[in-house]
């Protein structure tokens, strides 16, 4: 029986996906005694099926603070990657050559330019460089680009990493910090108890002083148990990966990137289908066709895997970070770009959680923004 007056852990992080792992690693680094409660081998787990972009351009229209938060994470990523390498010996292969968003028609070029200028004209928007490029300018960097590519937007702050290595590095680091990773501990119920929390899980009861909900989709169910709200929904995305080839593509190009191991990843789709992760050949086919318009040489490569994963999306697509007003010590963290924001989650958010307080500038990320009644 756990002793309620002396909890087992300083913090229980619910969810061992990228968001939970990054926060847990940051907390453990701050000297907190951390437990990560996770499900078993098969679970809805976008963290294992993402595209691994550390992506800045185009993000934050409607919430400039999110643009700033994203840019800050990208700026922190190099240091974050070195910390992980120093601690674990694992190189997560973060690289920031700048990213291209390919545009396949004049209309797409016009729309993209307008969208980016609206984004960057927002008041209190963070300042950073980006460019609109025509075909010739793109072809200068990538001569093998398809003739259908009319142009691209380019941003020097975009990059990518190997998100599976990131995952492994975080878990290796957590183990080295002495954090407890507890698989097969799906959290069923949470009760605030004696200034801390008692969690009923598939693997037994766990007591902790503080609580971080980073359970991806399941945070929607868990948050109300501690006076929080996380109204997230699944959105399916398909990804294709090819056999390994010799390196030919240095840049992340929107929906196409070559991994450090040589495979080419090709994404993605946006489907509102609930919790169905099955793969549809017609969707993969559309993705494949678009990729070949961007890079015709991809057509000869063999596809070795396809999969579909479920993005964790809030109603406006921006993150939710919040501490409970009624059960202080309980935090929720969810976002749809857990790779990009991993550096922030580990090095900016975790220290605040360790200190028990989110500063003023996190208020914009509160889920209370969804309480505003819709205008008729």
């Amino acid at each position: 029986m756990p002793n309620p007056s002396r909890p087992d852990y300083d913090v229980a992080v619910v969810g061992g996906g990228l968001v939970g792992s990054a926060i847990a690693w940051g907390l453990a680094r701050e000297g907190q005694k951390v437990a990560i409660l996770d499900e078993g081998d098969i679970a809805v787990r976008p963290s294992r099926g993402n595209f691994a972009l550390v992506w800045v351009q185009g993000k934050g229209l409607g919430m400039p603070e999110y643009a700033g938060w994203t840019k800050r994470s990208a700026d922190t990523w190099t240091g974050f990657a070195s910390l992980l390498r120093e601690q674990t010996g694992i190189d997560v292969r973060y690289d920031r050559p700048g990213g291209f968003m390919p545009l396949l028609s004049e209309a797409e070029v016009v729309a993209r330019a307008a969208q980016l200028s609206r984004l960057h004209n927002q008041p209190s928007m963070v300042r950073y460089a980006y460019e609109m490029l025509d075909h010739a300018a793109v072809a200068k960097e990538m001569p093998f680009i398809g003739k259908d590519v009319v142009g691209a937007s380019y941003c020097p702050h975009d990059g990518h990493c190997n998100s599976l290595k990131l995952f492994r590095a975080l878990h290796t680091g957590l183990s080295q910090f002495g954090a407890a990773y507890l698989p097969n501990h799906r959290v069923e119920r949470i009760e605030p108890r004696d200034g801390g929390f008692r969690l009923t899980t598939a693997g037994g009861e766990v007591a902790a002083g503080k609580l971080v909900l980073a359970a991806g989709h399941d945070s929607a169910r868990l948050a109300p148990m501690v006076g929080l709200s996380a109204p997230v929904r699944p959105q399916r995305g398909h990804i294709i990966v090819t056999e390994k080839t010799t390196p030919f593509l240095k840049f992340p190009v929107g929906y196409v990137r070559q991994t450090d191991e040589g495979g080419v990843m090709i994404g993605d789709s946006f489907e509102e289908v609930g919790f169905d992760t099955s793969v549809r050949n017609g969707v993969s086919s559309t993705i494949a066709e678009r990729a070949m318009r961007i890079f015709p040489l991809l057509g000869r490569l063999n596809v070795v895997r396809t999969w579909a994963a479920l993005r964790v999306l809030s109603p406006d697509g921006f993150p939710i970070y919040e501490q409970s007003a009624t059960a202080p010590g309980a935090f929720v963290a969810t976002c749809h770009s857990g790779v990009t924001l991993a550096a922030n989650h580990a090095l900016a958010l975790a220290p605040h959680i360790a200190a028990g307080r989110l500063p003023e500038d996190f208020t914009v990320f509160s889920a209370r923004r969804f309480d505003v009644p819709k205008a008729a």
Partner: protein, 472 residues
Amino acid sequence: MTEMTTRYDLAVIGAGPAGLAAATLAAERGLTTVLLDEQPVPGGQIYRSVTRNPVRNPGILGGDYWHGADLVGPFRDSGAAYRPGTTVWSVSRALEIGLSRDGAARILPVKHIILATGALERPFPIPGWTLPGVMGAGAAQILLKSSALVPSGRLVMAGTGPLLWLLAWQYLRAGARIDAILDTTPGGNWRAALRHMPGFLRSPYLGKGAALLLDVRRKVKVIGNVTDLRAVGDGALRSVAFRQGGGPERSLPADTLLLHQGVIPNINLANATGCGQHWDEIQRCWVPTVDEWGASSVEGVSIAGDGAGIAGAVAAEHRGRLAALGALHRLGAIGPEERDREAATHRAALAEAQRGRMFLDTLYQPGPDFRVPKDDTIVCRCEEVTAGQVRDAVRLGVGGPNQAKSFLRCGMGPCQGRLCGPTVTEVIADARGVSPAEVGYYRLRPPVKPITLAELASLPKSEDEIHAVLHP
């Protein structure tokens, strides 16, 4: 290929004994049937190249092999369509088959599907098993059946199971030299198998099997109780090291090492389709779960032959016919009485063919050392992941093969886990001290065989599928 645009009632995937028998019966009973197979000629693994065999002396391959011709003849006369050289890379719950032929992919919708994709050799992870010069005994047998090739130079065969002995016997008849057979059958298996002796004594395997075994043992040096098997060489095989029981390490120079420790169902297509599967404790492999008509958990998808659990070629034939009767019934072509009446003879023949199987499965169950290798042994040949790395991942909290895949990339290569899946499951189970059933297996997705991006791009797309990607 205009007839490929006809709507078939039934598609059978795999032209081994199960698929040939299923397609023949279904077409004879009036279903428009198509048989799709990856190979250029019918026969599957056991009867490979039976219609076009370069081995002139029929005595080399033995009578059981030539029985394949008895299946191909009626199939040709049945009216079923036959598409050789056709790889199936996807089967959906909507009963749409993704196939690829001559570098072009397409989708074929049908009303019922019988998967008869057979077996593959169980992985045999030992140090050095990736060296050139080391291959599967079944693989070498394919070289003999389709190309009349036999090993030259020094040959060592190692492992356990009927196919190893059958191949040795075929080699002797072909005049090939075998330097040694290293028998890895664990000593204790005999005791366990004795319980099942009564069934075996009445089985069709007994007479043939015993004669074959004696013949080989008379002519070849057989070393029993072999452990700590290693393939040694730099760039190519040079020698085979091993111990006998707990004895000192010995070494035999070798140019070719043929490994075999039984066959396991080829489950990738069934798994990717979403068919339920379970762990078989005796055969130590994952098996799709089917009912007495071969029906899987996915409506309209049946599985027949060794792909639904290893039972051998003769059983495969009858299981194919039972699956065909199940499909005829499901599609309304025959009533339940007719189905059951017709099934009776096939069920009796199936029971006859399966008699003695428990004895063989128990006797030839590979020992734990050859299923759960030591740390330095490669388990995933594609991504070159070792058993030690898998154990390290378990220490970090990895509980099953899907998490191991994210941590290590094992199972992410082109073979899609076919040659590492069973080992990864068993290594994790062993490290965690739980059963493989609890550890689980890879979740697979189409394509189960590689197709080019251009082939994928050429497939038909619906409005909503296009919209899911090219949204405004």
